[in-house]
């Protein structure tokens, strides 16, 4: 019964979304306050209905209702409760419902937090958000209904893919979707502004928090996914340039560009058309990502629904929304006149450079991702585009970005002086070069990647600190320290996020360049040297888990006669899903992770053991978290909380109530 109600709520939500996407739009066109006001309750009701529907599906998973086809193929009575719940979005239909839930949530948030928006703009934003809702609710109801019943329910389910039975991966999709779908708000604001034909500083201030929130969630989601790959897949890799990873990375890059260009709109009323275009493209890439994940057209390690019918539907959604928005853009971009002028050497120019690098790098990733498809369809060449290509084609953009970042961030608005902006940065540059040279001399005979990572990392991190310090002005040290605490949150956010980028760049380079690897056969009781450590295989035994069987090794890691850690890597087999997994055992550390994997038994009674020392591994995720924290700090800046009222349009007629 509850399941049927959930299904019904979804259909009602579609009806409400149709109203939300039309009535406020017409109201805004005719300046009819009553019609415009329909958007508010519609968005909230749509959210409540989809929320109920999601709760109904969750209930079905929790009680293991095997009359539901989705529960059968993704759950099992023996599965731990947390994975019964996360199993709701561990599949195509359920994750799509989560997608729509978050879409509706953002619509409702626009109502709850959009009190300071002019009614016309708000009505239009909600209407566009409603249209996206209509498209995806239709997609779900027509091609991917999660509420399909089975005529003959089986006694038990087929279990969730064991790889997904992991806490890291359980919370990874919700964050990613909050990011993907959050970009729909930027899109809605862009389209609403195009319909209105007006973009000003206030618009920049309104659109930026949504973009910032989406970007923060995307950052966390991508970092979680990368961390999961690192500890779960069993060889310490953290990024594979897989099409589905790229699908989340492209919107992240464009959103990062959008964040920066929205600042120019807000502070200087310039780059308006470009910012609108980025807002459209950011959501466009998010839809492209949805297409890549769910159509199965491009092969990826992340198999989801591989159904051509669904692929065509998403392509249709992509075509309608991108085609519509870009047409509108072409027609209206001309009226978006820039007000602020700026010199060739200025903060604005630096941000333009940032935008070009981020946008082009996103397109490089896009080209590489779709190239196998294009090559096969157009040139009849069956080829692969993998890690080596992306490393070669993408990395130069990161290097260029990191190289200009500190200087650009300290450049004054309107017109600057390069030499002057560079003055406080010279010590940082010298320090980064010195540390790079030190790294180079210490690692004779290895790639230049490590030292380059040190240089860029120190340069960006140090630049961020110098930038923050420079904001405290001049005068006595004590006074400057006091002022440091009173700086706007946006300044702190900028420094923390940029610093996080520096840490991340360094960690990526360090992990790629300085990783130690060892593959060997070890007899039980035997020892081997791994870098400065001595590792002993104490024992290997069979262990029974709740819904799996495990072969668990016990390895003791010693250093200089002292015990560092005892680690238990496992090989698991999930009999219901019929799938083996590798559970690496990791001793996490500040400077390095010791990463051990147990392999197969050998004929001589020994075991294959793979061991890695991953230098600075935690710095990678720490850097990502710093970036996200910077975004959150910036989001909490006072200027987004106080009424932004730069252009509250006089309300025509009487309010709706």
């Amino acid at each position: 019964m509850i399941v049927e109600l959930g299904h019904f709520a979804l259909i009602l939500a579609l009806a409400v979304a149709i109203i939300q996407s039309t009535v406020p739009l017409i109201g805004a066109e005719r300046r009819n306050a009553a019609w415009m006001a329909v958007g508010d309750p519609a968005a909230v009701v749509q959210f409540l209905l989809v929320g109920f529907s999601f709760a109904a599906l969750t209930y079905a998973f929790v009680v293991s209702d095997f009359s539901l086809s989705l529960v059968v193929s993704n759950s099992h009575t023996l599965k731990p409760m947390i994975y019964k719940i996360t199993g709701v979005w561990g599949n195509h239909e359920g994750s799509l419902l989560l997608w729509v839930l978050i879409l509706a949530l953002f619509g409702a948030c626009a109502v709850w937090f959009g009190g300071n928006l002019p009614p016309q703009l708000k009505a239009r934003v909600l209407a566009v958000q409603g249209m996206i809702g209509v498209a995806f609710l239709l997609f779900m109801l027509l091609t991917s209904n999660p509420f399909l019943r089975l005529a003959v329910p089986p006694l038990d389910g087929q279990d969730l893919n064991p790889l997904l039975q992991d806490p890291g991966l359980a919370i990874h999709p919700p964050f990613l979707y909050l990011g993907y779908v959050g970009l729909s708000m930027s899109f809605s604001f862009a389209v609403a502004a195009l319909i209105e034909g007006r973009v000003d500083a206030a618009w920049g201030r309104w659109v930026r928090p949504w973009t910032l929130a989406a970007w923060v969630f995307l950052t966390i989601g991508i970092a979680l996914g990368s961390w999961w790959a690192y500890y779960e897949l069993g060889w310490g890799g953290f990024w594979f340039w897989d099409p589905v990873e790229n699908a989340s990375f492209m919107p992240w890059l464009i959103a990062a560009a959008l964040l920066h260009s929205a600042i120019v709109v807000e502070k200087r009323e310039s780059l308006k058309a470009w910012t609108i275009l980025l807002a459209i493209l950011a959501f466009g890439f998010s839809l492209v990502g949805t297409f890549i994940v769910r159509s199965g057209v491009i092969t990826s390690v992340h198999a989801f629904a591989n159904d051509p019918e669904r692929g065509v539907f998403i392509l249709l959604i992509l075509g309608v929304f991108m085609g519509g928005a870009l047409t509108l853009f072409a027609a209206r971009a001309g009226v978006l006149e820039a007000k602020g002028v700026f010199g060739m050497v200025s903060r604005e120019s630096a941000l333009v450079a940032n935008n070009i690098l981020l946008a082009v790098s996103a397109f490089v990733v896009f080209f590489g991702t779709i190239w196998p498809l294009v090559a096969e369809m157009v040139f009849d060449r069956k080829l692969s585009v993998g890690e080596p290509f992306f490393n070669a084609a993408f990395s130069p953009f990161v290097v260029a970005l990191a190289a200009i970042l500190p200087l650009g961030a300290m450049m004054p608005w309107k017109r600057g002086d390069g030499a002057r902006a560079m003055r406080p940065l010279w010590p940082v540059l010298v320090l980064s070069m010195a540390l790079g040279a030190l790294a180079w001399s210490m690692q004779t005979g290895r790639t230049a990647l490590g030292p380059v990572g040190v240089i860029l990392g120190v340069w960006v991190l140090g630049g961020a600190l110098v930038d923050l310090w420079a904001r405290t002005g001049r005068g006595a040290l004590a006074g400057r320290f006091a002022r440091l605490g009173r700086l706007p949150r946006a300044d702190w956010g900028k420094a923390v996020a940029h610093g996080g980028l520096g840490v991340t760049i360094f960690a990526v380079a360090a992990m790629l360049a300085w990783k130690t690897e060892d593959i060997r056969v070890v007899m039980p009781g035997g020892s081997y040297a791994l870098g400065p450590y001595e590792v002993t295989l104490v024992d290997v035994r069979e262990v029974e888990g709740p819904n799996y069987q495990s072969t668990m090794a016990e390895l003791r890691v010693m250093r200089g006669g002292e015990e560092v850690a005892v680690l238990f890597p496992e090989k698991r087999i999930y009999p219901v899903a019929g799938m083996p997994t590798t559970e690496a055992a990791i001793d996490y550390g500040f400077w390095r992770d010791v990463y051990l994997v147990i392999g197969d038994p050998q004929e001589n009674g020994g075991w294959a053991v793979r061991s890695y020392i991953e230098p600075f591994a935690n710095w990678l995720w720490g850097g990502c978290m710093l970036m996200a924290l910077g975004g959150l700090l910036s989001l909490s800046d006072r200027r987004y909380r106080v009424a932004a009222g730069a252009r509250r349009a006089p309300v025509a007629g009487v309010p709706a109530e």
């Binding site: 979005w89 893919n161 790889l163 991966l169 990874h172 990613l176 996914g225 990368s226 897949l233 069993g234 060889w235 594979f240 897989d242 589905v244 994940v293 092969t299 990826s300 390690v301 992340h302 198999a303 989801f304 002028v341 010199g343 060739m344 120019s349 070009i356 690098l357 082009v360 790098s361 397109f363 490089v364 080209f367 190239w371 090559a375 157009v378 040139f379 060449r381 069956k382 080829l383 692969s384 585009v385 993998g386 890690e387 080596p388 290509f389 070669a392 084609a393 056969v521 090989k571 009999p575 019929g578 799938m579 083996p580 997994t581 590798t582 392999g599 197969d600 050998q602 294959a608 793979r610």
Partner: protein, 161 residues
């Protein structure tokens, strides 16, 4: 990264069948195995480096160095045989490309249509910079905010007085 991974997916069908028949599930082979490795560290490190650029043909987007699939193991061993036989890196890779097509290369060679792929990034960068410059010049020409050389000299004179 939503969705399922494929580690071991290739063996999945087989194992499902084994489970159905009540047989013991065979353990999958895992990435590079100790028994495949060459005694000569120089040759082995060449093999590892080359492996990272070669695709496991039955997997989705995994290189043969990381893959658990049986075919990846076969390719790793084949590659090592070629290196032991005295092939250069290029010859060993060419041997695999002859047999499996360019699909096996994770780094698409910059030949023919692939040039488009390789040139796309730099070309777009140039275009982006070009457009930025053009619009910058147009803007400063229209705005009248910037002064030409003569005006600037005149301004400096006034300021000096």
């Amino acid at each position: 990264m939503s969705g399922a991974g494929t580690r071991g997916r290739v063996t999945l069908g087989l194992q499902a069948a084994a489970v159905a028949l009540g047989l013991l599930v065979a353990a999958p082979v895992q990435a590079v195995q100790p028994d495949e490795m060459l005694a000569d560290p120089a040759l082995e490190s060449r093999a590892r480096a080359l492996s990272k650029g070669l695709r496991c043909l039955v997997c989705r987007n995994e290189n043969i160095d990381d893959s658990d699939a049986q075919l990846a193991r076969d390719l790793r061993i084949l590659l090592r045989e070629r290196l032991v036989a005295g092939d250069t890196d290029a010859e060993a890779v060419a041997f695999l490309v002859d047999r499996y097509g360019e699909y096996v290369l994770l780094n698409p060679p910059a030949t023919g249509a692939n040039l488009l792929l390789w040139v796309a990034g730099p070309a777009m960068l140039l275009a982006g910079v070009g457009i930025a410059f053009a619009s910058f010049r147009r803007r400063s020409a229209v705005s009248g905010d910037t002064l030409d050389e003569a005006e600037r000299a005149r301004l400096a004179e006034i300021l000096k007085e």
